[in-house]
Structure formats: C-alpha cells, structure tokens
C-alpha cells in the first residue's frame, strides 16, 4: 500500500532501519552506479575500440588479436613519408596500455606516509550529514523508500513507475 503524500520525511527515515534491504547491497549498487558514470561509452568499453574495417584498419578478429594493434600509426602527416623508428620506451607505451589502478599500484604512492600529498590523499572530506532523499523517478524530494530496494520516491505515481521499471534493477 502506498503511503499518503505529505507524510513527514522524519518518520520515514526512522522506518528505514526496518527495511529488508542489506545496507551493503545499497553501498555496492551506488559504487557500481558511480563507476558507470565514468564511462566514455555506454555500450562497450572504449579499450576494445581500434579501427573499423572501413577506415582501412585490420578487420577485428578477437579482442586478443586487437590488443597489440596501434592506431597512432594510421596517419602519415609527413609529406616526405619517411618514418623514424620509435624508441623502446615509446613502443612500450604504445603497445602496453595500463589502466589507472595498475599505474597507481606501480607508482608506489600507496606506500607514502599518510601526510604526503598525492592523488590518494587529495580527495575531499566525506559528508558530515546524511544525504537528502530525492525521488529516483522524477527528482523531487523523495519522502519514501522502496521496501524492496531502498530507492526513494515521492508519491504514488512515482512509486508505481518505480515498481514497474527501476525496482527490477535491484542488486541481488
């Protein structure tokens, strides 16, 4: 049964502790969502992308086969056409892409004293207050929380939209 509009949010907050949703699951879901918000493309990871056939690139056979291909040699801007051979450092950088977490590991910044400024210590403070609840459907204040997945919604209308669509996305 849907709660009536206008119920004070404080009451709902108190009742969230009785929700059957594991807070760990909510934390995981949020983390996954934040990772999605960093993507350069929705459909596929951008690392899988080299050149398509119509650009004169090699036809892609498999992700493994493509991994050692470079795109930066696909243009020839120099009119005299002679290409110099790159150094070992450059060839290594071009052929072996490392993702950021690998680079951070290799940089050793995790071993610095906690007061040494680095990427890891520069992040700002965590919030001091609990977050405000916003309706996951329409963006208005979310007075209520779904009992199954803990996402907030604002009224009956948004609750039914939530039940039909969003709630399916709950983390199992």
């Amino acid at each position: 049964m849907a709660p009536k509009r206008g119920r004070p949010s404080r009451q709902t907050k108190a009742s969230t502790s009785q929700l059957a949703v594991d807070p760990e699951i909510v934390v995981k879901r949020t983390r996954r969502h934040l990772e999605e918000l960093e993507r350069s493309n929705y459909s596929e990871p951008s690392t899988a992308f080299t050149l398509a056939e119509d650009d004169g690139g090699e036809p892609s056979k498999s992700a493994r086969g493509r991994a050692r291909q470079t795109i930066s040699d696909k243009r020839n801007y120099d009119s005299n056409g002679k290409k110099k051979k790159s150094t070992m450092n450059i060839r290594t950088a071009l052929l072996y892409r490392k993702n950021l977490s690998t680079l951070i590991d290799e940089s050793g910044i995790a071993n610095l004293p906690s007061n040494a400024p680095s990427y890891l210590t520069a992040v700002t403070l965590p919030p001091r207050e609990p977050p405000r609840l916003l309706c996951s459907v329409c963006g208005y204040w979310g007075r209520y929380k779904c009992k199954k997945c803990a996402l907030p919604y604002c009224d009956l209308n948004c609750q039914s939209v939530h039940d039909e669509t969003r709630c399916e996305r709950r983390v199992v």
């Binding site: 493309n41 992308f49 650009d55 795109i71 950088a93 680079l103 919030p127 963006g139």
Partner: protein
C-alpha cells in the same frame, strides 16, 4: 639563451587548447579523442573531428581515464595531428614546448611524458606543469591598480574532476590541494541517464547530451524553490525548456526551442525540467548521487583551513574560477552565497570568474612562455639525453612526489618564487594587500556568463 618558438599545449582530458608564440593569441581547440562516427563511417583523430557530420551514436576513445593519461596510442594519434601541418606545423627540434599535466600526476606517468617529448617528438626543450600553476602568470586577478595577489585559491572544474588549488607567492601549496570526483564527464553521463529513464533513450548520445547540458543547465541559487516550480506543471513552468534534438539534416546540433519555432511531427522534443539544475547540482552536493564527498563550498573551506592561519583571509578574498564546468549560469552566485556562510564573519569573500574559463590557462601559459626567462624553467633535450627523466624531476618546480620518507611532506613550503611585481615594467604597481583583503573593494567578478 636565444628565444625559440614555443608551443603551448593545455592538454585537457576532453579538449586540448594549443597554439604557438608566433601564432594567433587564441588557441586552437582540439578534441582529445579518437572518435568514430557510425553515420559518417569514419574515424576522426583529434582535430579531424571538426569534419564530423553525423553526431549520432559517436564512439569515443579517450587518452585519459579518470583524469590521468593512460592510453598513449590514442594520445599520440591526437598529438601527431596537432603538431602536423594540418594544425600547428610544429618544427619540434627547433621549438620549445609547454605542456600541462593533471594535478598529482603519477611519477611513472610523468616519465612517459618526458619520453614522448624528447624521444618521439624531439623537442629542443620543454616545461611541464599543472594548469592552475600558470594562472599567476596571467591577468585573471589583475586589476589595473593592483598587483596580482600573493595568495589565490583556484577552483578548476574540468572534465574529469574538480580541484581546489591554493597558490602562495606563485607556487601551489600541494598539502592543501583538494579534489572532488565530479567533472563534466560525470555530469553529462548523469544527464544521459535521467533523460533515458524519463524520456528518450540517449545512453549512446554523449555528444548530443553534452550539448544539451551546456545549453540548458544552470546552478540553482534556490534549490527548494526551483524543485517546487518544476513540480507544478512539468511541461509548462518558469524553468522548463524544450530542446529540439538533432535530426541530422537541417538541425544537426539540436537547439533550445524558441518562441517562434514551429516543430513538425518528426521533431523529437526533449523536456529539460528539473534536469536543468539537478545535474550540475552534483558539484555542490556529490551525495545526491551517493558519492561520499562534500561539495565545492565545504571543500574550499577545508582547503583554506589547511593553510597558515594568519593568511587564510587572503585566500577567502581571492578565489578564482577556471575550467569548463564553472560556466554554468549561477555558479558564482551560489558559491558566493554558500562560502559567505562558511567563512569567518570578518573575512571578505571575493570570487573572480574567468570570462573564458576554458582558455584561461592557455592565455596565462602564453604570457609565461613569452617572459624572457622562460627557458630557465625548461629542461633541454641535451639534458634529457644526459640524465633521462631525472633531469625533469630535478628541474620542474610544480608537482612532484616527495621522495624523502615523508620528511616535511605535509609542510613542504614552495620555493620562494620571484613575484611578478619584480618585473621592471610593473615595479611601480602598488604592493599586494597585506591584510585579509579588506582593502580590496571588489567583491564580485568582472563579468558572469550571460545567457
């Protein structure tokens, strides 16, 4: 040392701002990406993206991941074009280079920058630094009657994240630099999600939704009131805008519907209601999307609290905004209001908004490389061939990891720089204010972005 032609590359994760000392004063803006257009059946490298005709479902390969350069193959593809006759016509062995790197760049990544500059492109000499470190060289804070302030606090809100960067006597105080993991990329993706859930599936339309964001979004100065306004009638209220999505024929980029616009049945209309301000709100309230970080005003207050107490007032009075994500209308007003309630009562809070926040660093860099002693900051190729990246680690003054086992890391004071007031041409300028900025009467920026 003789003056060499110098290339300035502000190497942003989304857009490169680049130019030459003997070229135009305005930079060339180049997409820092390899972009595939399905409609055009073509892949564009960096500057070639200008030729793109079909913006639907573009696929992006970005050299940067979360603000750091990781894909050197893609970066080289973009740089090769940039330095070529198609854009800047750089003769590297006879040129000097100034290139920007991210705040807190990793030492192992910094080495690769050096390798590309000297081993691949063979520049004569180069200087690498962070964007904010260049601002004291420009005229962003300059007022005809005042020298540049000795204390300034820059907010650099870019594509990958937002940094708060205090600068004392021309050098960044690294122990007080703070980061919020919210930038333009996250905001566009957030808008894509909201739109796709509520109206049209735009998940593959990053380029189009970035345009929608830039055209429609603003920072609310009264969130509660604006939320209520949008709730009354979601299709007709003082905030809602109708955005005509691109049709890839007459309206390739899409646009906000004007009063006299006649829309046909085939036109797809996107209603931008509370999305207009809910999206950039994340800079001020990252916890709205569950990100466990305080927003920009509290981050500024935190950064200032880490600075020497007797000069904190000078930072409150000299806050500067740079980077594309500071262009949202209402940004400065909202920030000013919130900072006012966080700052000590007797402190003046003044915010300077760059009129061109995307190219502010480029222009400051151009001023720097034209100073007579610029070459003294550079590492030459000869020095690199002699001692490798050590030459750069020794000489570059901006960001480097403290290698001593934490000795003095947190209190590491920047080397005393030459203040710009020593410049003979400016020697008769009045000295910078000494107190908490109360002598300065300017309390608002010279201009805000108009829409």
């Amino acid at each position: 040392m003789k003056s060499l032609p110098t290339v300035v590359v502000d190497n942003g994760a989304a857009t490169i701002k680049a130019g030459l000392t003997d070229g135009d004063s305005e930079p060339r803006l180049v997409a820092n990406a390899v972009v595939r257009s399905r409609g055009d059946k073509t892949t564009y490298f960096g500057h070639e993206f200008e030729r793109c005709r079909d913006y639907s479902s573009l696929h992006f390969r970005l050299p940067f991941e979360k603000g750091y350069l990781v894909d050197w193959d893609a970066q080289k593809a973009v740089w090769d074009g940039l330095f070529s006759a198609e854009v800047l016509s750089v003769n590297a062995p006879e040129s000097s280079l100034l290139i920007t790197e991210p705040y807190f760049n990793l030492p192992n990544v910094q080495d690769v920058y050096d390798q590309f500059v000297f081993e691949e492109y063979e520049f004569h000499s180069y200087y690498r630094c962070t964007p904010a470190s260049l601002i004291p060289r420009g005229d962003m804070f300059t007022d005809p009657f005042l020298a540049p302030p000795e204390c300034m606090l820059l907010v650099d809100a870019g594509f990958s994240f937002t940094h708060v960067v205090p600068i004392l006597n021309g050098s960044i105080v690294w122990s007080a630099v703070k980061r919020i993991d919210v930038g333009g990329k996250l905001l566009t993706n957030h808008l894509k999600e909201l739109t796709s859930f509520r109206q049209w599936n735009m998940m593959d339309e990053t380029y189009i939704m970035n345009n929608v964001k830039e055209s429609c979004c603003f920072i609310s100065t009264n969130y509660n009131r604006d939320l209520e306004t949008c709730r009354l009638d979601p299709k007709k209220n003082a905030i809602v805008q109708e955005y005509i999505l691109p049709d890839f024929a007459t309206n390739r980029e899409g646009r906000i519907r004007r009063q006299d616009d006649i829309v046909s049945d085939g036109d797809q209309i996107l209603f931008m209601n509370n999305e207009r301000f809910v999206v950039p709100e994340i800079i001020f309230r990252p916890d709205d999307i569950g990100l466990q970080q305080v927003g920009l005003p509290a981050t500024i207050a935190h950064s200032i609290s880490l600075l020497p107490e007797d000069i904190q007032g000078l930072f409150w009075a000299n806050i500067g905004l740079i980077g594309g994500s500071t262009k949202f209308p209402g940004f400065r007003e909202r920030l000013a209001a919130e900072l006012r309630s966080l700052a000590p009562v007797d402190c003046e809070v003044a915010i300077y908004q760059s009129q061109e926040p995307i190219t502010e660093c480029y222009r400051s860099a151009l001023a720097f490389v034209q100073e007579p002693d610029f070459q003294e900051y550079c590492v030459t190729r000869a020095e690199y061939l002699e001692s490798g990246s050590n030459a750069c680690r020794r000489k570059f003054k901006d960001w480097k990891l403290v290698d001593e086992k934490g000795k003095g890391a947190a209190v590491r004071e920047p080397a005393k720089p030459k203040p710009r007031t020593e410049d003979p041409e400016e020697s008769d300028a009045s000295p910078p204010p000494k107190r908490g900025g109360r002598g300065r009467t300017r309390t608002t920026s010279t201009s805000t972005r108009k829409r």
